[in-house]
């Protein structure tokens, strides 16, 4: 590697595709900044390690080109990696031998392309009344669709507000994909998911030995370098993290936990909140200055009940998407079922609507969705439920008696789970299938809603 000057590596750092140089023993010589962001490994951590331990590319274990004797040809493979954030990411890896001065292969270069954006682009999912993966033709949604291209081209922070289930994350995704930052990552951070000390290092990074045993961590800002950082439920950030975020918006640098040196970060911030940030700022629980900075561009997603004309469009969209996935031929809804669905107010908004349709499609045996296929909480009283299930279904999800869309949706979701369990005679695999979820999703949600006791956790 001595013939390569330091400038060459700086050039590699500027390339927005992951690049890795390895020797003939398949040990890592160098990874660029984009690959650091993709894998979550720092350059220092992975130097000298076998590349399969860092890339964790599934094809490494089936068909490693270097393992083949005399690998001198360029080859391209598609597969997936698992990064340090436990995400499975679809990638395309191209592999090329690098000749030395004598013409023999002296090293290999791998370029790793993140395919998440490409995979999300499915021509069958393109809808005439849509932007990205958001669908709607109501006046309110059309207004949003009209300004989105302008919003996407700006680099100012965006604040998205709206009730739970209105699609704030999809809107952030659509803005990122329509922006000039599309080649770089969109990184999501759920602000209320972690206690403060963990949240700080997860967001801003961690220096090695910041505290005894601490390992260096890149942090979400670094992972989103040149891309977009989506802060979901920004209202849940602690006051000290609000100050650090405000500091970033002024200085465009971040201070990792335990580090004295600031690190420049070029990241666009999109924040979302289902609570009224203006009110929180007035009450003093959210920094006013941060609110004003985030509110540079403000987008509000209306609740589904106010989106006149969108309900039918969304019902048909989710019906066809689910039916096609399950290879079912379902032409539509019966008239009475449609009336029932149109009368309902959807406190959980589009998310609830989608869950209801997916549940009904899973359950339906005929060529039309009928009332009998809908979750029982839409059509029945809960008189016939077992007492223990009823208790689980009616238990308030928050001890402080908080009200609002999030709480109502949470209760409805719990009822849907209970209903599916009853229909499946307690068989969780079947209930997960009815709900259109993976088994582990159902287990996680049952735990979240307190439907399952610890002792029952291991049952099928």
């Amino acid at each position: 590697m001595s013939e390569l000057s330091l400038d060459f590596f700086s050039v590699l750092d500027e390339i927005p595709i992951g690049i890795c140089l390895i020797n003939k023993q398949r040990e890592i010589l160098f990874i660029n900044q984009a690959l650091e962001a993709l894998t979550g490994f720092s350059r220092l951590q992975c130097e000298g390690l076998p590349c399969s331990h860092v890339l964790r590319f599934n094809k490494c274990f089936e068909n490693c080109p270097v393992a083949k004797a005399g690998a001198r040809e360029r080859c391209v493979q598609e597969g997936d990696i698992i990064n340090q954030d436990h995400q499975k990411i679809p990638v395309r890896v191209s592999f090329s031998p690098v000749p030395g001065l004598n013409g023999d292969v002296s090293a290999y270069m791998e370029t790793v392309e993140d395919l998440r954006q490409v995979r999300n682009f499915d021509p069958e999912r393109i809808h005439p009344f849509s932007f990205g993966r958001i669908i709607g033709r109501s006046e309110q949604m059309e207004k949003i669709f009209k300004i989105l291209p302008v919003v996407a081209q700006s680099d100012a922070p965006v604040l998205i507000t709206g009730q739970t289930g209105t699609g704030k994350d999809l809107l952030a995704e659509a803005i990122h994909h329509a922006s000039t930052r599309v080649k770089a990552p969109l990184v999501t951070f759920r602000c209320g998911a972690l206690p403060e000390p963990f949240a700080e290092s997860e967001l801003f990074g961690l220096e090695k030995d910041a505290f005894p045993g601490a390992e260096k961590k890149a942090g979400k800002f670094r992972l989103a370098q040149n891309g977009t950082l989506f802060l979901a439920e920004v209202c849940d950030l602690s006051p000290s993290l609000q100050t650090k975020l405000l500091n970033y918006l002024y200085e465009k640098t971040v201070y990792p936990v335990g580090g004295a040196r600031s690190i420049p970060a070029d990241v666009r911030i999109i924040a979302a909140s289902s609570r009224n940030l203006d009110q929180l700022a007035q009450e003093g629980s959210f920094l006013k200055e941060l609110y004003f900075r985030l509110n540079a561009i403000s987008l509000h997603l209306p609740p589904l009940k106010d989106r006149s004309g969108d309900l039918r469009l969304l019902l048909d969209h989710f019906l066809h998407a689910r039916a096609s996935l399950l290879n079912k031929t379902i032409a539509g809804f019966t008239d009475s079922c449609l009336r029932k669905l149109e009368e309902y107010t959807y406190p959980g908004n589009v998310l609830e609507l989608r869950n209801i349709v997916e549940y009904a499609v899973n359950l339906s045996q005929g060529d039309r969705i009928g009332i009998r296929d809908l979750p029982a909480y839409l059509t029945e009283n809960f008189e016939d439920l077992e007492p223990s299930m009823l208790a689980a279904a009616s238990r308030p999800s928050s001890p402080d008696g908080e009200t609002g869309g999030a709480l109502e949706w949470s209760e409805l979701e719990r009822k849907m789970i209970v209903n599916a369990l009853l229909k499946a005679n307690g068989r969780r695999n079947k209930a997960a299938e009815l709900l259109g979820w993976g088994r582990s999703t159902l287990w996680r949600k049952m735990k979240q809603h307190g439907i399952v006791s610890g002792s029952g956790a291991g049952h099928e």
Binding site: R56, F61, H86
Partner: protein, 114 residues
């Protein structure tokens, strides 16, 4: 009695939990002395198969490489301690386990200067 599962590829911790072709299951008594050990070769490695093995064998600690969030959450929910993102061979991992010093993200492989 404590039961530990190491997700292996050859003599090393497998880089990916879902692709680990082999597992080593070790038991130790309350006095910390090693008990029985079992080596399982998986015909079709998958994260679901491994989760099943973990549940069926009453494993308390899993040591693995990269693991997808879904399976990490599932195992932790089942009260299994998961020491993930470990890079190293079985011998050095077991040594650190015995010392009580093994933690997620540990890199125990000796490397040559790059």
């Amino acid at each position: 009695m404590s039961r530990v599962l190491l997700a292996l590829e050859g003599n090393d911790i497998a880089p990916r939990f879902d692709l680990a072709p082999e597992v080593l299951i070790l038991s130790s008594g309350e006095d910390g002395q090693p008990g029985e050990s079992k080596d399982l070769v998986l015909a079709r490695p998958s994260a679901e198969t491994l989760c099943h093995v973990v549940a069926a064998e009453n494993i308390e600690t899993v040591v693995c490489g990269g693991i997808e969030d879904e399976y990490l959450q599932y195992l932790e929910w089942k009260k299994v301690r998961v020491i993930h993102s470990v890079i190293g061979n079985a011998e050095s991992v077991l040594e650190h386990l015995r010392d009580g010093t093994l933690k997620s993200g540990d890199i125990l492989l000796k490397r040559r200067d790059a």
